[in-house]
Amino acid sequence: MHEMSIAMNIVDIACKEAEKEGAPSISIIELDVGKLAGVMIDSLKFCYDSVCKGTLAENSKLLINEIVGRGQCIKCGSEFDIDSFMAICPTCESYEVEITQGRELKLKAVTVNE
């Protein structure tokens, strides 16, 4: 789950952005996390506060937009929501499904104080 290293990367990126802007502190960090990104949001939140200690992001809020999984069937081309990697096409029942959305692990925005 390595959510600790993920949390450290998040805070690193956010602090660098805030420093570039000369901001004294960060109030919100906003993420896009796909349901199939391999990250447990609860563990991430758990790690986040401890990683923020002593940084510009201390006491900041973590805002997570969960992105639902989407797949496209290679056989028949239909598109549908998926909630796991073991997706089966609802139209033709093929499991040759390409995941088109849900792997996101992105830092969207940082809100800083001035």
């Binding site: 789950m1 390595h2 563990s43 104080n113």
Partner: protein, 263 residues
């Protein structure tokens, strides 16, 4: 510390050691710096909040370092393999047997474990150059560790680099090391629903080795069901069924390896 797998702060306690060496080289702890200690004494009568759009991949730094490794391997015509599995599925045994059989091919090994030189010592007994990375509390290797490790190993041109990741079926999935192929090893003592329980690692793999097939008569493990589960997760997977101890099925694996370097 992460409550899920117990991993701690990565990068801090990482050490790199060659077989027979008694001193540790410590990693530089990456570029993580957490001492943002700036005084800010300007006064404001009201606070403005401002939102900066960042739009950055959270694993972007690792991905960039992995691409650097990939470029280095490509330039030196090195075929690199990242072996991932849960603890004890037979990665080191497979390596010992593979390296012994590939006597005419230049090989090198990077071993990743939280603690001990055991796996590096086993590999060193085959005569192949090996470097042990001890990740301390870290539950996966990352691209920066691999970069440090191969500079120490001084890889030869036209060779194969085997990387044995830390035994863990979850965490290594997200960390690209710059390898050509990711190989997930599962042994028949683990249950044929492993791919359904740990899909992320199968999703990111190219090859799936089903090991310990000599034990099939003694355990309830349906090889076809396991493959079916794995293919549902990732329909691009290629399979090898073998026993690293008895050598059964090793020839197809070795032939595949040789085909990769003659490409």
């Amino acid at each position: 510390m992460c409550d899920t797998c117990g991993c701690g702060v990565p990068g801090k306690a990482v050490s790199f050691r060659k077989h027979g060496e008694d001193h540790h080289h410590h990693g530089d702890g990456h570029t993580h710096s957490h001492d943002h200690d700036h005084p800010h004494d300007h006064t404001h009568d009201h606070r403005h909040d401002r939102t900066i759009a960042v739009e950055q991949d959270i694993l972007g730094e690792n991905n960039l370092l992995a691409q650097r490794n990939r470029g280095y391997f490509e330039a030196k015509n090195i075929f690199s393999i990242n072996l991932v599995s849960s603890p004890g599925s037979g990665k080191t045994t497979l390596l010992e047997k593979t390296l012994t059989a590939l006597k005419d091919t230049e090989c090198a090994v990077i071993e990743g474990d939280q603690q001990t030189m055991n796996d590096a010592d086993r590999v060193a007994a085959t005569g192949v150059p090996v470097l042990q990375i001890n990740t301390g509390n870290g539950c996966h290797l990352d691209a920066d560790m691999i970069h440090t490790a191969y500079r120490e190993l001084q890889l030869k041109n036209d060779s194969i680099l085997f990387i044995e990741n830390v035994g863990n079926l979850v965490c290594p999935a997200l960390f690209d090391l710059g390898e050509d192929k990711r190989v997930v090893v599962i042994s028949v003592t683990e249950g044929d629903d492993k791919p359904a329980k740990y899909p992320t690692i199968f999703d990111q793999a190219d090859i799936c080795i089903i090991n310990k097939i000599d034990l099939l008569p003694y355990v309830q493990f349906d090889v076809e069901k396991c493959k079916q589960h794995a293919l549902q997760v990732n329909h691009h997977l290629e399979f090898f069924e073998l026993s690293a101890t008895t050598g059964e099925g090793m020839d197809t694996w070795l032939k595949w390896l040789k085909d990769q370097i003659s490409k």
